[in-house]
């Protein structure tokens, strides 16, 4: 489960994580539940239908399969699976019952979304008929691009809530199974943060909330880190506005640029701003480290994220030890 404050790059981080987990012959399902078609966008594809579809070949021959879970479609599937009443879906839709079941009824929507993701975790090759205990799992890992921190505990614990409401019946069974998978040691909730105070605070709050809810906290992924371009002593001086403008001007002259002096003072300000940002980012990094969770970092790439950039990010994760 990959959560984090809105705008921290959860979807990108989840996709890079899926690529790393699939590397060298793995099979990973990457699930999105917020209906934004962020995965299709990332992998440069048309909007994904409600079906598991291969979107990328991982390094060394693994594959990433994507699924955009749609609550309504999941409900129809569920009805068909348990009752064989797919056609009845039309009647239900006409009466607003699907609206009811997927958007309004207590948590049914989130139950369907988490239910679909956790079903994929438990699924084994060969469907129902094979000797299930022995068959290999369909997926080596399932990565869920989960809702943001503000909603994550509620989202993951909805099954417990529903179990409290529906004392019996198929929804109850469904909810119980999903909750067991989510609470098990096979599931971890990771948090993506930016090297800024509030996203870091949300990651800390999210971790605490997840712990309190009895779920397993995972790693903290510090995203969009600006890699320092200058040695620490130069950065430290620059942070306080001390930049050797003279040396800068000499360098610009050596590079045969016009107006080296004017430009040197303008660039000195940019160096100071960079140093201040690197300083602020280090402070946030120290605070996040103090949370005691494993930390991963991804650089700020600029230029937007395309499939190529995604692979570069995944390589960074692999280099930091992310593997199956």
């Amino acid at each position: 489960m990959v959560s984090g404050k809105g705008g921290t790059g959860k979807t990108t981080a989840a996709a890079a994580l899926a690529l790393s987990l699939a590397a060298d012959g793995g099979r990973v399902l990457l699930v999105e539940v917020e209906g934004r078609q962020g995965l299709a966008e990332l992998f440069g594809r048309d909007p994904l239908p409600y079906e598991e579809r291969k979107v990328a070949e991982a390094r060394g021959g693994g594959e990433v399969v994507a699924l955009a879970v749609d609550a309504e479609a999941a409900l129809m599937e569920y009805l068909e699976m348990f009752y064989g009443i797919r056609r009845a879906g039309q009647v239900l839709t006409r009466f607003g019952a699907v609206d009811f079941a997927t958007t309004i009824a207590p948590g049914v929507r989130d139950v369907l979304l988490t239910g679909k993701a956790t079903e994929a975790v438990r699924r084994r090759e060969g469907g129902r008929r094979s000797r299930r205990e022995e068959a290999p799992y369909s997926y080596d890992a399932v990565v869920l691009d989960a809702p943001p921190t503000g909603r994550i505990a509620q989202f993951l614990c909805v099954n417990a809530e529903v179990a409290g409401l529906a004392r019996m019946g198929p929804i109850r069974n469904h909810a119980d199974k999903a909750m067991a998978t989510i609470r098990s040691s096979a599931t971890a909730v990771h948090f993506v943060a930016l090297p800024e105070e509030m996203p870091a605070q949300e990651a800390a709050d999210g971790l605490a909330e997840v712990r309190e809810a009895g779920l397993n906290p995972g790693f903290v992924l510090l995203n969009m880190v600006h890699e320092p371009l200058l040695p620490p002593d130069v950065l430290e001086a620059a942070e306080h506005g001390e930049v050797d403008t003279e040396a800068l001007a000499q360098g610009l002259k050596a590079a045969r640029l016009d107006a080296p002096r004017d430009r040197a003072s303008a660039l000195a300000q940019e160096v100071t701003a960079h140093a201040q940002r690197v300083g602020a980012e280090s402070a946030v990094r120290r605070r996040l480290r103090a949370l005691g969770r494993p930390m991963l970092e991804l650089p700020f790439l600029g230029g937007g994220i395309d499939t190529d950039a995604l692979f570069r990010l995944s390589d960074r994760l692999t280099a930091q030890g992310v593997a199956r």
Partner: protein, 408 residues
């Protein structure tokens, strides 16, 4: 999600003053009209400002900064935030917000005579409870609040938050203690939810399905529809469980008798949003996802005939040495690396190349938005090096929005 600091993720923030509207260095971009924030905030006909946009673009900060600036312009402002993370509280220096507007202590220099600022954090459940308590006799209210379905509904299932935000907005407007209300919209999964949820919840609670569920089996409605209804309730009962269905039925019958039409409330709220006393601001950052969402939101608001005042583009980046292009800078950097030495200059040129590249990409994005919506007024807020978590920083954001300190 909403509301975050306009922290600098990319390059050094160089403020674009009011003399540089729109898109610096984007000759292909049409001239973007500048959003006159002070004119909007000073317009006494405007009673509500709704900040909307995708997650993480700074809605809460924008709402709070506008509230602060409105106080500086002499208005009695209140900011409602519906975000479960307590960020507005942080940025206003408050440790806690609850469901009633609390005064924000402002230094004398922050508010014009007569101006004031209040802030509140929406407590969804409490707002729902308040509606019940206000409209039902104590016994009935008790009965409703004890219903498990009500408890789940009010504790925050999809749609409730949006609905309650609109409900609270309506309440504050009717109370009349504030002449300008700022609403920071919920961290919805998508822009759609914000406009749709109140109506959908209203439609559901007042809808055909619920009426059928609530109606005793022998009434005409059931007989007319015959077996169909039995099949539907039967299936619903299978999906959600008979107990849930029974809870819903008893909830609806007690709730319905009390309120006489949730849908009517939802529609009133919707119409209130459309009236000229409301101004929508779409908040975005110059990143492709956020700009795409913003464009979509602009179109959606127009389709719903909601009064759109303009767009706030947060976290824009500029550079020093404006005339040095990314390409030139990178070439000079490579030249220095070839020569050896001049480490500082090489690094500075590398940094500048990155910053100029970011600036150009942002300009292109803004240009695209401006081409699609040439009449959309825009206010830009340069990225900041540090987070916004005090009033002074909030005022700086307000100054950036208004193009300088407020002229009172």
């Amino acid at each position: 999600m909403s509301g975050d600091p306009t922290t600098d993720p990319g390059g050094p923030g160089t403020p674009h003053g009011p003399d540089q509207p729109g898109t610096p260095g984007g000759p292909e971009a049409p001239d973007t009209p500048r959003l006159d924030v002070d004119a909007l905030l000073s317009d006494t006909a405007v009673r509500t400002v709704v900040c909307c946009g995708s997650g993480g673009v700074g809605k809460t900060t924008t709402a709070a900064a506008l509230g602060l600036r409105a106080a500086a312009l002499g208005r009695q402002a209140v900011v409602i935030t519906v975000d479960p993370a307590r960020r507005l509280a942080q940025s206003m220096g408050l440790s806690e917000l609850d469901n009633t507007p609390r005064p924000v202590e402002l230094p004398a220099s922050f508010a014009a005579p007569g101006g004031s600022l209040h802030a509140m954090m929406l407590d969804m459940k409490r707002t729902f409870d308040e509606i019940v308590e206000a409209h039902a006799d104590p016994e009935r209210a008790q009965q409703i609040m004890a219903n498990p379905f009500y408890q789940s509904l009010s504790a925050g299932f999809t749609g409730t938050q949006e609905y309650m935000a609109m409900e609270k907005l309506g309440q504050l407007r009717e109370e009349g203690d504030w002449d300008l209300i700022f609403v920071d919209t919920p961290p919805s999964r998508s822009a759609l939810d914000f406009l749709d949820a109140p109506e959908r919840l209203g439609r559901f609670l007042d809808g055909r399905l619920i009426r059928l569920l609530a109606a005793p089996a022998r009434t005409g409605a059931f007989r007319l529809l015959g077996a169909g209804v039995g099949m539907i309730t039967g299936m619903l009962s299978k999906i959600v469980g008979a107990q849930v269905l029974a809870d819903v039925q008893s909830f609806v019958s007690s709730f319905d008798a009390v309120f006489g039409g949730f849908q009517e409330r939802a529609e009133r709220t919707y119409r209130r949003l459309q009236d000229p006393g409301t101004a929508f601001l779409v908040v975005a950052v110059p990143e492709s996802d956020a700009v795409r969402e913003a464009a979509y939101f602009v179109e959606r608001l127009a389709a719903d005939r909601m009064p759109l005042a303009g767009l706030v583009m947060n976290r824009t980046h500029g550079t020093g040495a404006e005339d040095l292009s990314a390409g030139e800078s990178m070439a000079a950097c490579a030249e220095l690396e070839r020569q050896g030495g001049h480490g500082l200059a090489a690094a500075a040129l590398h940094l500048h190349a990155r910053a100029a590249d970011l600036r150009d990409r942002e300009a292109a994005l803004r240009g695209r938005l401006a081409s699609a919506h040439p009449d959309l007024p825009v206010a830009e807020v340069p990225a900041r090096t540090r987070d916004v978590h005090d009033l002074a920083a909030l005022r700086e954001v307000g100054d950036a929005l208004g193009g300088g300190p407020p002229a009172v």
